[in-house]
Symmetry: C2
Subunit: 413 residues, 2 copies
């Protein structure tokens, strides 16, 4: 039974994680939040207390931490007796936080792939460049490391595993569809860290098609779908973490990720990209100052956390799976619909942060109970999907399924 | 008879100025080019020699200079015995270069209004904020300072003076129309320093209407005109230097400046402006680096000088003047058409640099000959227009006039 959670990061997702951990602190114990800015950590604690999120009288601590500093991170893990680390800080921190977990024995959870500042959209499979190099060491040391345990990657990986185990004899294709049909009312904003958001789209788009890696440009391949609640949507083939583990762990020839974009987003993105303003490589101003353009774009855009109060509308994220069952063609869409306003009412956060922040807490509860304490490094599809989806049903992210028999909760047959 | 020219700046306009000074070095004497980067000055000298521009065996010198340093600028003026200074450096330098001229007695020429880095589109009249504060001192010391002696401001001011003196009894309106119908083949670029280009459009648009200053937003007021050579064009009311002197020096109730923009330019501009990327005020990145977004935009855009080799098409810039003559309504359009490819063939430069760079050399020749050696601070419309336009006819920027009697050279009646 692992207890006491260290949350790394103090952005929008970290705030949801803190609220949700507090709601289940009878299972999870002490909650520590650490980031470069202790003030941001403290603001999250204030929000958690103001909303009355803690189930039991809460131990909540804020700490200043540079999580690139492995020794400092190890010291904080030990000092706070944290047995579960939920890393929802910058994507640049994964390797140093993982290292601290391996050396202290704490369980490691994250929600997105590791990135190096100077590189984007590296050679597939992405996990092979950083995380999976530590597979053997985690197994040898019995360290639990669950990679990509947010919504996507994360819940959609569990949907894929559920489809493979329960709904199909053979799967031909998994198309992960990620739609945000919400409106934040700003001229332009990204729903999570703009730096990470744009980095997803500036390089080549990797997808797994016909059993091999295929490269496209962003906004090159488009599809339209009529989806539950959010209706007709335009989605574009996008590079994304989960394609890189599902292609290894499932025997499926076509795995693609699609994200919805409005024309306005595409226009702004296209202007910025074509001008070179989304580059992660430094440029020099006429005055001789070296600066990474993307970091300046991030600095002028709204803080994603600031979007929460006015955000309306819903998200719909799920797996459209095609294959055969009992010798006949079969298709299911396993999905969740989340509501921005409900997310704000519960956790002071917008829906994108909510969908990313609730699942790692469900995963942490499953580590605490032992069900997901794998004592090795895994991606979500390698773990039992059903206990995870059951917890999510109760934690605000219910799963539904749509197939030829209609639209219903995932576990209603 | 003033001789020897110091050119401040080493951008696209400075290059044209250097070529044109060299073509007339029998009148102008030694040519010195000074900027922060001595390599850029030397590259211009190399271009001048490669094109064979010098009329007489040429004295050409490159110097490194921080022109904000008044003492260094004075020392260079004295050391090089320069009696005419053509300031075509950054718009932030005017006041320090003017100071150096006043204190050494050199004649001062520039092509654009002074600007302070932290301010845009200040209270009208703009010249009153900086330049005209030195009117008395220039007159007392007998220093010649000709403000805004490029094309616009500059030649269009002479067109306005010509209209007032030769074509009208009463002028009701002067609309300066600035069309660049050229194509540089890039996704996006500005034709001169992006920082100065964008600063023109990010604040309020000042125009002189019904005898008073009127404020609009950029791209708020549009007109369409069928112009010589370039045809039908969309132009937008824009703030510009010449409105601020013509409104003082001519008795005209309506003076407006209009610039042509394509939909693509407006889209890129709108995205950048709405995101805050055109701000002249510093922002702080997540890493704590202070940076002015506009300077980063400048750093990623093509160097305007680099556009020259592939630039095709023409510019058309002129004054549409309405009023009455002999008791009847009268309208004239006095204008020039310039060609990007011809400009490149002659001076290794694109047409916008050419139209801005030729006029100050014509003005320098008139200072050298004594005709424009006013021994006070003036705007171009206060000087005799005809000798200026005659020189420009021979120097590559011929003036034409279009009225009810047809389209012909300006001095053909």
């Amino acid at each position: 039974m692992k207890r006491n959670v260290l949350i790394i990061g103090a952005g929008g997702v970290a705030k949801v994680v803190a609220h949700k951990c507090a709601q289940h602190n009878d299972e999870l114990g002490r909650i520590v939040i650490a980031s470069r800015s202790v003030a941001k950590c403290q603001a999250i604690i204030d929000s958690v207390r103001a909303k009355g999120s803690p189930k039991l009288p809460a131990e909540l601590e804020a700490h200043a931490l540079d999580a690139l500093d492995v020794e400092a991170t190890k010291a904080l893990i030990r000092e706070t007796e944290s047995q579960i680390v939920i890393n929802v800080g910058s994507a640049f921190l994964n390797m140093s936080v993982l290292r601290a977990c391996i050396e202290t024995g704490a369980a490691y959870l994250d929600t997105a792939i590791h990135e190096e500042p100077g590189r984007v959209c590296e050679t597939p499979p992405w996990y092979g460049n950083y995380e999976w190099k530590h597979l053997d060491e985690c197994r040898e040391k019995g360290v639990t490391a669950i990679l990509g345990a947010g919504f996507d990657p994360g819940v959609v990986n569990a949907y894929a595993a559920l489809a493979a185990q329960r709904h199909f004899d053979r799967i031909d294709s998994i198309d992960i569809l990620d739609v945000n049909a919400g409106s934040h009312g700003k001229y332009f904003a990204t729903n999570f860290d703009p730096e990470i958001n744009f980095r997803e789209f500036t390089g080549q788009v990797w997808s797994w098609q016909n059993g091999q890696w295929t490269s496209n440009a962003m906004f090159e391949v488009k599809r339209s779908d009529d989806l539950p609640v959010v209706g007709e949507q335009n989605l574009y083939l996008t590079g994304h973490d989960e394609v890189h583990s599902l292609s290894k762990n499932l025997d499926v020839s076509n795995i693609r990720f699609w994200m919805s974009f409005g024309d306005h987003y595409i226009n702004v993105f296209t202007v910025l990209k074509n001008l070179g303003l989304l580059s992660e490589q430094p440029v020099k101003t006429a005055e001789g100052l070296e600066v990474v353009p993307l970091k300046v774009v991030k600095a002028v855009l709204p803080d994603p956390a600031s979007l929460a109060p006015g955000y309306t509308g819903k998200t719909c994220i799920g797996d459209l799976v095609r294959g055969s069952r009992d010798g006949k063609p079969h298709e299911v869409f396993i999905y969740n619909v989340a509501d921005h306003e409900e997310a704000f009412a519960e956790t002071d956060s917008q829906g994108i942060s909510y969908t990313a922040g609730v699942p790692p807490v469900a995963a942490a509860r499953l580590i605490a109970s032992g069900q997901w304490d794998a004592r090795r490094m895994v991606n979500v599809e390698e773990l039992p999907a059903e206990p995870f989806l059951e917890l999510l049903d109760a934690m605000g992210l219910p799963t539904r399924i749509r197939d030829e028999r209609g639209d219903r909760p995932w576990n209603q047959f």
